[in-house]
């Protein structure tokens, strides 16, 4: 094809510059949105925004933000992990029932084993067999749920317990600051560091942006994908442990309600569901926005149905808007 040579640096129109700014720094408009939401909340119900409310919001946003971390990493490669709800629940449930008979450290280690297995199966299915990630992870989630049901019957007599330090971590406050941050801050730092400053992080972006280019540069797709889904499952397992410390009542559907919001948090946070673009900071703010929004909808007595509709519309709207922004050629 004959092409006219593209001039080196044409002036960039304002509209496009705004678009570029939005896609380069999605965190800034997100923070603005978060602040606006908090202000609205304060206006609706004056006095609600206080120290206690903030601590509470953070406490509930943390598990969501952790699961959104799983989605962020998976989405960077163009995937998604729908098994994280089940994985987190399994870990929580196994830990809570095992801790009755063995020491907490072993119980926690044991509880992460199913996570690793499910993650590996996900990775093999997606990375080697090339099953669509969504279908694959929904499927392993289903199997995992079945296993959990069977497991529940075998331990039905043992009862369950939550180790004190998990409860302390999940619900406790120190000088008004949630203890959960002790777990969350290092994990978040690790994820952000991994994505930005390690070879593995680079490859997540690379295979998601252009699998062919990554391959031509010598990258083995399946190795990246298997590692990713195992990491995602382990993170989900840890989230489950934290969440059971927060809720204190292990059940078969403990973490399931966080699954769809975790996808929404990552999408709102500016991570592209097609891969190659995004970051974890946005997802954390996305999780905070969703938590604040949930409070708001509860205060407005908005029914559960309306909330789900809103989630759906947000995901659709953000993705469609994202496509418009990316078509910046």
């Amino acid at each position: 094809m004959t092409m006219a040579s593209a001039s080196a640096n044409p002036p960039v129109p304002l509209g496009r510059r705004v678009k570029r700014f939005m896609s380069d720094y999605p965190v800034i408009p997100l923070i603005v949105l978060l602040v606006v939401l908090v202000v609205i909340l304060q206006l609706i119900r004056p006095g609600i925004v206080n120290e206690r409310w903030i601590a509470n919001t953070i406490k509930f946003a943390i598990p969501l933000a952790l699961l959104a971390g799983c989605q962020t990493m998976a989405m960077l490669t163009g995937g998604i992990d729908m098994s994280v709800g089940t994985v987190a629940t399994i870990s929580a449930f196994v830990m809570a029932t095992q801790v009755v008979s063995i020491d907490p450290a072993s119980a926690i280690l044991l509880s992460l084993v199913p996570a690793v297995i499910i993650g590996a199966v996900n990775g093999i299915g997606v990375g080697i067999f090339r099953v669509h990630p969504l279908v694959m992870t929904l499927g392993t989630g289903l199997v995992g749920f079945g296993v959990l049901q069977v497991y529940q019957r075998t331990v039905i007599a043992t009862g369950s317990d939550i180790p004190d330090f998990l409860a302390w971590l999940g619900t406790g406050l120190t000088y008004g600051v949630p203890n959960a941050l002790l777990l969350f801050v290092p994990i978040a730092a690790l994820i952000i560091f991994t994505l930005k400053y390690t070879g593995f992080g680079r490859l997540l972006y690379a295979v998601g942006d252009n699998e062919r280019a990554a391959k031509l540069s010598g990258v083995s797709y399946w190795k990246v994908i298997v590692t990713l889904y195992v990491a995602s499952a382990v993170l989900a397992g840890i989230t489950g442990l934290l969440y059971v410390g927060l809720i204190k009542a292990p059940s078969l559907t403990l973490v399931e309600p966080l699954l769809l919001p975790s996808v929404a948090a990552a999408v709102i946070g500016g991570t592209s569901i097609f891969g190659g673009r995004g970051g974890y900071t946005g997802s954390i703010i996305g999780a905070l926005i969703l938590t604040v929004m949930t409070t708001m909808l509860t205060i407005l007595q908005m029914p559960e149905g309306a909330r789900r509709i809103l989630f759906g519309l947000i995901v659709l709207f953000v993705t469609a808007a994202y496509i418009r922004i990316v078509e910046d050629r």
């Binding site: 199966v121 299915g125 067999f129 090339r130 099953v131 669509h132 969504l134 279908v135 694959m136 929904l138 499927g139 392993t140 289903l142 199997v143 749920f145 079945g146 296993v147 049901q149 069977v150 529940q152 019957r153 769809l260 996808v263 569901i273 097609f274 029914p303 559960e304 149905g305 309306a306 909330r307 789900r308 509709i309 809103l310 989630f311 759906g312 519309l313 995901v315 659709l316 993705t319 469609a320 496509i323």
Partner: protein, 324 residues
């Protein structure tokens, strides 16, 4: 004839597997009779419609994650419409619900074509939205169904000239299923639209060059899927007599049964008969596991594993086909 057998070998094999399973069931449980078979079909009904919906969309090269939610919406709509209404009103309610399904499906298709967001994301978003809509229509399981609808899928009907022993094995639910699927599928398969659906799934570029209106065909494929999902929703209301706003396990089951039934993820290949037979096989496996007194919870695992393995197999086959 041999060409016909060769081309439909997968479906024929599935039939054989199904019959073998039936015989096996009769052996491990000599009491298994026509009545049990009837309830099997009744239980399979919503699954069968879900997989019909999923198959059309997959054949057209897409995927519909909102199928279970759409069934929930149509089911509660039917239950609410018929709640306290006269028996005759159901005659209005049923077409209304079917039309609603058709339109909701079309919305999926239109959103995909207009926003250019990939189908997997659009239908995921619609999954949330429709779940919400179902909950808004009916906060908790409730509503009612017209009596004649409920009766329609129970028992058998005597066919003149055929032995009662045979008609006993043809439950009404099966007739309802076959008639409603055939009413849509047979004319479709014979029409240019049907060919076009296969064409866009097989090769969008070749289809475009053959003069197929790609966007319109895609929208119609989703709309037809919506129609089948509405049938599934109605069948739920018919068998339970109420509407339940929480979607059942139909999404994963529909994808797995479609793949097991010979529909290739990626589009262009397969039909609707194979997947429906696959649904029956999966239900019968469940029955057999129960009869073998396997822990009913383990049944979920085995079923799930079959589905995962089948989907992996399907993806693997698609991969091989592509690299060929």
């Amino acid at each position: 004839m041999t060409a016909y057998i060769r081309r439909n070998s997968w479906v024929i094999g599935l039939f054989a597997l199904f019959v073998t399973l039936l015989v096996f069931t009769k052996i491990i449980q000599p009491d298994y009779d026509a009545g049990d078979f009837g309830s099997l079909v009744r239980a399979a009904l919503p699954f069968a419609f879900a997989v019909a919906a999923q198959s059309i969309v997959i054949i057209a090269g897409g995927i519909d994650l909102s199928v279970a939610s759409m069934m929930a919406v149509t089911s509660v709509t039917a239950a609410v419409l018929m709640n306290g209404a006269s028996e005759e009103f159901a005659l209005v309610a049923v077409p209304l619900v079917l039309a609603m399904g058709f339109c909701l499906g079309a919305v999926n298709g239109i959103l995909i074509v207009v926003t250019r967001v990939p189908d997997i994301v659009v239908t995921l978003a619609m999954l949330f939205v429709l779940e919400g809509v179902a909950l808004l229509i009916l906060g908790s399981p409730g509503g009612a169904a017209a009596n004649w609808l409920k009766v329609m899928i129970v028992g058998t009907v005597a066919i003149p000239g055929v032995l009662a022993a045979i008609t006993a094995w043809i439950p009404n639910a099966l007739i309802v299923l076959l008639v409603s699927v055939a009413l849509v599928w047979i004319p479709l398969k014979r029409s240019r639209l049907g060919l076009s659906i296969y064409a866009i799934g097989s090769s969008q570029l070749a289809a475009f060059r053959s003069g197929v209106p790609v966007s319109r065909t895609k929208i119609l494929a989703y709309a037809l899927a919506g129609l089948f999902a509405a049938m599934g929703g109605l069948s739920l209301t018919m068998s339970t007599g109420i509407g339940a706003p929480i979607p059942g396990p139909y999404l994963m089951a529909s994808v797995a049964a479609a793949v097991l039934g010979g529909v290739i993820l990626g589009g262009g290949r397969g039909g609707i008969v194979g997947p429906i037979v696959a649904v029956f096989i999966l239900r019968l496996v469940r029955t057999d596991l129960t009869l073998l007194s396997v822990d009913p919870n383990a049944t979920t695992i085995i079923e799930g594993t079959i589905m995962v393995v089948v989907v992996m197999l399907g993806a693997y086959l698609a991969l091989r086909a592509r690299s060929r």
